[in-house]
């Protein structure tokens, strides 16, 4: 007779979302085509998380173009979420998944998404420890954020392009009142 195993908690995320946990029994799933998921954790603090993003529009026009804002936003939200629950930036390690080539578009959006994620990790000094990007097939990802364990299941057939989620309108106060410059 074996001791009962604690139940695994499953969470599913979709494009435009991120998730952070300190619970090692949590397993996160997501389905990726040309989108990319960054799986980041601090092994010492026992915290981890994942996001799922697709850069909208034309890409590859430089490091700081309009299309990258959603990616930067979701990467930052994930990193900030990890830091809030005890992670240290210098201990973060990441795996990247997704970025498949698409059928309908001749542009290689998936490749650009994966390259953007790699550039972000490098710029922020986050260690890249593995994953799987590119290729013609979509992926189902299972990720245990605290343990850092990841499993991918390649989907049958070629993947189709996913429509990017629209950027939400940024909140600003357009009538904040003028400032007297000194």
């Amino acid at each position: 007779m074996t001791a009962a195993q604690p139940l695994e908690k499953r969470v599913h995320i979709i494009q435009g979302e991120f998730f952070v946990t300190t619970d090692k029994s949590v397993m996160v799933t997501t389905i990726l085509g040309s989108c990319v998921a960054a799986c980041i954790r601090d092994p010492l603090a026992g915290v981890g998380g994942i996001n799922h993003f697709l850069l909208p529009g034309e890409l590859g026009r430089g490091k700081s173009n309009e299309a990258e804002r959603m990616g930067v936003h979701l990467m930052e939200m994930l990193v900030n979420g990890l830091l809030k629950v005890g992670a240290r930036r210098e201990r973060l390690e990441a795996k990247l998944f997704g970025g498949a080539s698409t059928v309908r578009s001749h542009s290689d959006i998936g490749k650009h998404n994966a390259e953007f994620a790699q550039r972000f990790l490098k710029a922020e000094g986050i260690a890249f420890v593995g994953g799987s990007t590119g290729g013609p097939k979509g992926r189902r990802i299972q990720y245990w954020p605290v343990l850092g364990r990841a499993r991918q299941i390649l989907l049958a057939g070629q993947t189709e392009i996913e429509p990017p989620v629209k950027l939400p309108a940024a909140s600003i106060d357009a009538n904040a009142g003028e400032l007297e410059l000194f």
């Binding site: 990258e68 809030k84 600003i172 904040a176």
Partner: protein, 129 residues
Amino acid sequence: MPSMQQLSILVVDDTSVSRALLTDSLDQIGLKSFKVAKDGEEGLKMMLTAPCHLVISDFNMPKIDGIQLLRALRQHTPTSKVGFILVTGKGDKALIDEGKKWGLNNFLAKPFSVPQLKTCIEAVVGKLT
């Protein structure tokens, strides 16, 4: 009505890619006189040494967050009246209200566009010429 050359800006963000996005946006607007700080602590030191007209700061930062930076600046005479725009991951009302208690001039929720950043800055300093 400030000229683009006249307005000096300090960008404070602990994420280097976000700093690059912000400075790239300022450059696109035509604002060339900006400095950057990699966190709130460095931003405060820079402002106390050589104040800028306007601070555009992230909220989530280690050691000194955006609201703590704002409070510190308001408590020092040389920096008590500088413009302050808080950039947040979400338009959190409680956070904005807390900022307003300390004289927050405006806020901007990420992800933002270049025109939105320009509107936000102009609401604080007046129409840029």
